[in-house]
Amino acid sequence: MKWLVGFSADQGGREALALGILLARASSGSLVICTVVPETWGHPSMARVDAEYASFLEQHAKKALDKARAQVGKLAPAEYRSRAAPSVRQGLFETAQHIAADCMVLGAARGSFLEGGVTAGVLHSAPLPVVLAPRGYAPSAKARVSRITCAVSATPDSLHTANAAHGFCAKLQVPLRLVTFVVRDRQMYPTGAGYRTEDMVANQLRRQAIAGQKALIAALPPKPPTTAALADGKTWKAAFGSVPWKEGEIVSVGSSNLGSLLRVFLGSNSAKILHYAPVPCLVLPWQGSTKAI
């Protein structure tokens, strides 16, 4: 598999690269490390100001890629590129197309996952799967990809997402776990229907989810094996805390049906999963009538 790492010489870039190395090794694939620099004006200018700027950018990209080279070492086969483009997003997409990448790897921006303009843009239009390293991601030297957890809403439509995640599992030779998030909604105040009614709704959702997960597991290929779990809690954070996460685990989410076919488009619930996930998050493009969970 070909993993395209969007690299910048900062914390986020290092984290993305660490994740890329992990994935490349797990899939016996290769890395393409790309740093995107702004496009310069293509015409000669009077005082060669632009040429000066262009050479600065070249130096900058070279420095960044040197850092990447140092980090990768001999851990995985890698190729290093810099690309000039009007926007980082566009540069990455063009590179992905050019090298026929299977998946894009990005780091978190400052703050959390979604706060970076690049990540936000990529997550609403990428034509290929995107995997994001969480902030502060530092896998140990011995870390291996241990499992992919696919977040599903456990409706028949989830099969598309689960299938895509299962495909990744087969390539990485790791088991799949389906997780359905049951985040108990806030209670309405006041009400004449009792102050625990949302528990009742959540309990029903839980039953639906268990039945839905069973049907999904039956519909997926038997190898690699698939397990299921419910992540239950009052808030998304609590729900994440309610299921165990292994080292080297990756969580995957589908795209919202608001986006276009075969593109990544982060839905509102997926955005929450991305925000609270303690592990890297793989966002899969929308495959037909797949709904985001």
């Binding site: 006041p190 009400t191 009792g194 102050y195 985001a292």
Partner: protein
């Protein structure tokens, strides 16, 4: 399998309390039954929040013509009845260690038949009152538009094509559809589908808005008070007073928001009655003061057919638009929140019934994306929206009163039955002055019911027949208890 139970056993079978507990139990210990989160003050605010807004803004236009200035007494009479029933309701609620609606309490204590009957009354209390409130809201919205834009909506889009003249329903008048009411119902349902909820804090803000605009009304109206408007005080005698009280009972719907909080409140034995009575005193005082000052401002004859009554009174009295504008805006905001709360209650009661197998599975299917029962909410929106669009408000108020009074009568009777059949069952709260209080509660409900119009009895009868047919054709065989009985 299903033949193992006779019809009598089926009607009397009770839902085991453990089943009720497991239905509403959270999955983690922090949702266990030890946590009692609601303070008596908050609970009082819940009572006030869900009660004010269901009627005081509109009900004078229909009740003053019936009772004359003595409508003040009707408010007191309806208030006392509401208080008695709320206390009985609180005892029944406190017998069961989960929070729920009177439907679930009746199911656990009085049996499936009674529970289904109570539930069909609750549909009137919630579904029909939501429609009634939406119709009243539409009047205030139109008033607001008139004050802000200079002109309101055409009358054809503002009222129902049916009119209630005295004792019968007929097609007539210049209305085609009450469009704003339909829009309100659909907006609220859209919010519910998206999973929006009113928080305790939002409720507190709504309470402040409602009490604020009503206080403003009282303060301004008192300046135009003329005692001569109160003469003659009771032109139709006590008959008029009690007839109006039947309709006015509708304005106290929502007080069960207090009674159902049994297990969620600290020290229910002490705090439940305090909250019920405090809410009742606050609400009744405001109602009586609003009615009294409104009656002091204009002669009783002018109330008839007055839309957005309170705002119009202020406009006429002061000659300025702004007090009416403030009041209409306050009413539009706070009545919106009441509609949301009532519709929420309706969807969740149907949800609970469907979980018990009383209604088709569709009603308890949860959409995993919004985590709300979408299909159930859409059905409620269509049902309530259609009623709000085509049925006049006076009928809706009386029908709500009818449903609520009957449901509460059953609950009061249930309290007495259970004192005999389950005397040793622990009760978090016991009705004082037993058996006088429940008897008074039943009698006062009965009394108010007999004062409602013949049309209402007819409509209620038709509704009960539909409900009974549905029960015997569907629910009795699909009940979750049927399966447990067969499985044993």
């Amino acid at each position: 399998m299903s033949e193992s139970q006779s019809l009598g056993t089926r009607l009397l079978r009770k839902k085991p309390i453990e089943m009720l507990v497991s239905d509403t139990a959270g999955a983690d210990p922090e949702h266990g039954h030890l946590k009692r989160g609601i303070t008596p003050f908050q609970l009082t605010m819940f009572g006030v929040g869900s009660t004010i807004g269901t009627g005081i803004f509109f009900v004078l236009a229909h009740t003053v013509p019936t009772a004359g200035p003595a409508v003040i007494l009707s408010f007191a009479l309806a208030g006392v009845t509401a208080g008695l029933t709320a206390l009985c309701y609180a005892e029944m609620a406190s017998m069961i260690p989960v929070s729920g609606s009177s439907y679930s309490y009746a199911y656990a204590t009085l049996g499936e038949g009674v529970a289904f009957f109570v539930a069909s009354c609750l549909i009137l209390e919630y579904g029909i009152s939501a429609a009634a409130v939406a119709v009243g809201w539409s009047g205030y919205l139109n008033k607001l538009l008139e004050l802000v834009l200079g002109s309101g909506l055409p009358p054809a889009l503002l009222s129902a094509p049916l009119v209630a003249d005295g004792y019968s329903l007929a097609v007539g008048g210049d209305g085609i559809i009450n469009l704003p009411a339909v829009i309100l119902v659909f907006m609220c349902c859209l919010l519910l589908i998206r999973g929006s909820k009113e928080s305790a804090r939002a409720n507190a803000i709504m309470v402040l808005i409602k009490m604020g605009v009503l206080a403003m009304f009282i303060v301004i109206a008192v300046t135009g008070f003329s005692a001569s408007n109160l003469q003659p005080f009771a032109p139709f005698g006590f008959a008029g007073v009690s007839a109006a009280a039947g309709t006015i009972f509708f304005t106290y719907v929502g007080l069960d928001a207090v009674s159902t909080a049994g297990e969620e409140v600290e020290n229910p034995k002490r705090n439940l009655p305090i909250a019920i009575i405090a809410a009742l005193i606050i609400v009744t005082t405001l109602y009586v003061l609003v009615a009294l000052t409104a009656l002091g401002v204009q002669p009783a004859a002018e109330f008839e057919g007055q839309e957005a009554g309170l705002a119009t009174i202020l406009e006429n009295l002061t000659g300025h638009a702004w007090p009416a504008l403030v009041l209409a805006a306050g009413a539009v905001i706070s009545v919106f929140s009441v509609t949301l709360v009532v519709l929420y209650g309706q969807t969740r009661i149907l949800f609970a019934m469907s979980r018990d197998g009383m209604l088709p599975e569709l009603f308890h299917r949860v959409n995993p994306r919004t985590m709300s029962p979408v299909a159930c909410t859409i059905v409620v929106a269509i049902f309530v929206g259609a009623i709000a669009a085509f049925v006049p408000d006076a009928v809706l108020w009386d029908l709500t009163s009818m449903g609520t009074l009957v449901a509460f009568m059953v609950v009061s009777a249930g309290v007495m039955i259970l004192r005999h059949t389950r005397p040793d069952m622990p009760r978090g709260f016991k009705v004082p002055f037993y058996p006088v209080l429940p008897i008074l509660s039943i009698l006062s409900c009965l009394y108010l019911i007999t004062k409602l119009g013949l049309t209402i009895f007819e409509l209620f009868g038709i509704w009960l027949v539909i409900a009974a047919l549905f029960y015997f054709a569907y629910s009795v065989r699909h009940s979750r208890l049927e399966k447990t009985a067969g499985g044993r």
